[in-house]
Amino acid sequence: MQWSQIKTLFILCFLILDIYLLVQFIDKQDRADQYSGDENLTLQEELKREGITLGDIKVGVEKESPITVSPIEFTEEQKETIDELDNQETVINTDNLIISHFDDPIPISEEADGAEISQAINDYVYRAENYKFWEWDKELNVILFFQEKEGDPIYYNQYGLLLVFLNEDNEIEYYTQSILGDTDASHEDNLRTLIKPMQAIGTLYEDNSLFFEDHVDDVEFGYHTWIPPTGGKQVFAPTYKVSVNEERDYFINAIEGQLFTDPEENFTRDMIMENFMDVQVIPNDLDWKDDMINKLRKLTQAETNRSELP
């Protein structure tokens, strides 16, 4: 009879002990797993206090590594394909930049969105499906597309860029296209866990780049390099693009979490300047060469005019 009572007592004791341990264990697991989650919580509170709202910030990529990309070397076959593209005359210069002039300019409607513009050029541009619409600079009337690698865009790189020039009637007259070559396969071996998109927003917040009542539209995954290209192999780091208020973009390294200075400023104008130089040395027998030089010159001069303004 006594033994039975002791047993009951023991059962009670162990029951209490087990409940305590279980609570401890879950707590520890939570703290470890949600370490960043906890941070996010306070960050979210802070953002709320500042009236900063978040759109869909999921990216769906958890592990990635930097990718190494070689410059493209066109095969004869590829050159032929490019040469035979419809409705245009193309030149490939020594840096493997494609410069092209449409025989019949392609009209683009004033209100066209990215998808429509992509659709419009799809049949005319080599590997057009690998280029992602970036923006339409209405001031210069130039449309930018970024090349995609491993399914994600390479942000702001001179060697993976499609630049489409429109005339006054919103028709595509010229375009230039640079293509990045193959990706080294080895990157699959070195996958790293990426920071959470929320941490990227935290970086922006701590950097005082988010202001009162800003709206973070979305976070996108892509690649970017902070090392100026030299024409050889390039390495691109996994990068988050954070868009704010549909007007500002920030680029944050998705492995280490640093925010980098704005690559956008003057990028388009610099690239037009590069194109302007490149066009000077294409063969003289192309009857559109002078016209293209003149149009590019106008665009580069628009730049100087603007920068001279106070």
Binding site: F25, D33, F236
Partner: protein, 432 residues
């Protein structure tokens, strides 16, 4: 009875569960650590250099005794000068205090340093009898010693760069007093120096030059991978490529390490955005020395050249046999920091392994150099831009092999850059 069996069973289960939970609680490790806090886990680069400290990396550029009748004495070789300075560093300085008044202006001995050094370094450089905590926040470039015969002591004065502040300490020790006396009064082991007063500063040069030798050295390339391991956050994702000159560069898309100048120099950039106040000079020096020691980077004899607080740059000059080695960008270590993070780093990529028979040189005497300079002063240079004159080595590569030659020459610091006093082609013309 049935109830009792169930209770026993329940008890056993509960004990089992408690054991399991305790075990789980102890061994559960968050799987997070691989991505977070991975900072510096892989830093295991070692270039195999020696150890250096603030005390050994900073040396005066000149030590000079001012004797009676405006005569000046100094050491016949920089090696003896360094040995004397090392001795002086061990002398106990006591009674450290700061003065506002400028008392006297003739000094028995002066030491000049390559750059303005914060007073806070006094603790590191010298042996103060009690570690001074409230050191003034100004910087000194010059330290003078005065000999007080009556009290048999030496007075050390640190003079601020702007000349407005002074701090003194006394050395009250018979043996150091006697050593100093033997130098100042007895001129033991000293030679006369000549004074060149037309330059930007008062310059003193040894009147005779002896025993300076030219060297041919064999060198070994440093292992760049060691630097990559140490300077990149995650060396395993660093990708290597070759430029058209076959020089490798390494990058992880943020940082970049380039091998340049035929594999003899490396240049590293880490473009982190850094805001915040610039660090203090002493902090800068500490960051810099730590970062270099971290990968055993003191592979040759280096001495501090400058600490620039505004641009947060620290530079070191390569020395050989106590003479500075001059060359355009091949022989200096240069680092730039931002908020304590290394942003830029440039350094030679070779280590001297052995020296091949030294050859004697025939350098001009101090007087001859001054005469030569005055002559040039009337032709193509203006003497007031001459900031300093000293003997240094000119570094030259012998073909592309792993050999380099050091040729002793008179150098002048002209408008902030070191160049030979005698121009190459002129020498050649003279010898023809």
């Amino acid at each position: 009875m049935r109830l009792e069996t169930t209770k026993s069973f329940l008890l056993i289960v509960l004990i089992g569960v408690s054991l399991l939970l305790s075990f789980g609680l102890w061994t559960y490790q968050p799987s997070e650590s691989e991505s977070l806090g991975g900072e510096d886990v892989y830093s295991q680069g070692d270039l195999g250099g020696t150890e250096e400290s603030v005390r050994s990396i900073i040396e005066p550029t000149s030590i000079l005794f001012h004797a009676e009748e405006d005569t000046h004495y100094g050491f016949p070789s920089p090696q003896e000068e360094r040995e004397f300075y090392e001795e002086l560093q061990t002398w106990t300085m006591s009674n450290f205090r700061e003065h506002q008044i400028i008392n006297e202006s003739n000094f028995d001995m002066e030491m000049r340093f390559p750059d303005a050094l914060p007073m806070t370094l006094a603790n590191n450089l010298f042996s103060l009898d009690e570690v001074a905590e409230n050191l003034p926040n100004w910087s000194f470039e010059k330290i003078v010693l005065n000999y007080k015969e009556n009290n048999r002591l030496l007075e050390v004065t640190f003079i601020s760069v702007d000349g407005q502040h002074r701090a003194t300490a006394t050395i009250n020790d018979a043996s150091s007093f006697e050593l100093f006396q033997s130098k100042l009064v007895g001129k033991e082991g000293l030679i006369q120096y000549v004074h060149f007063s037309e330059g930007a500063e008062e310059i003193y040069l040894p009147s005779q030059v002896e025993n300076v030798e030219n060297y041919t050295l064999s060198t070994r390339d440093l292992n760049v991978q060691m630097l990559v391991n140490s300077l990149f956050r995650d060396p395993r994702i660093v990708s290597r490529s070759l430029n058209p000159l076959n020089e490798p560069s390494y990058t992880d898309a943020i940082r970049e390490l380039k091998v340049i100048k035929n594999g003899r120099v490396m240049s590293f950039i880490n473009p982190q955005s850094s805001d915040g106040l610039p660090s203090q000079k002493q902090e800068l020096l500490e960051y810099s020395m730590d970062s270099i020691s971290d990968h055993g980077g003191w592979t040759n004899d280096y001495k501090l050249l400058s600490i620039d607080r505004r641009s947060e740059r620290v530079r070191y000059q390569m020395y050989y046999k106590d003479y500075p080695v001059f060359d355009k960008g091949l022989t200096a270590i240069e680092q730039k920091f931002g908020s304590g993070t290394l942003l830029e780093y440039k350094r030679p990529l070779f280590k001297v392994t052995s020296e091949i028979t030294p050859e004697p040189t025939n350098l001009d005497s101090g007087e001859a150099i001054i005469a030569y300079l005055r002559e040039r002063g009337e032709k193509d240079i203006s003497l007031e831009n001459v900031e300093n004159i000293r003997i240094g080595y000119e570094l030259a590569y012998i073909d592309n092999a792993d050999y380099l030659s050091l040729r002793a020459k008179w150098y002048m610091n002209y408008n902030g850059s070191w160049q030979p006093v005698k121009e190459e082609n002129k020498d050649a013309m003279e010898s023809n």
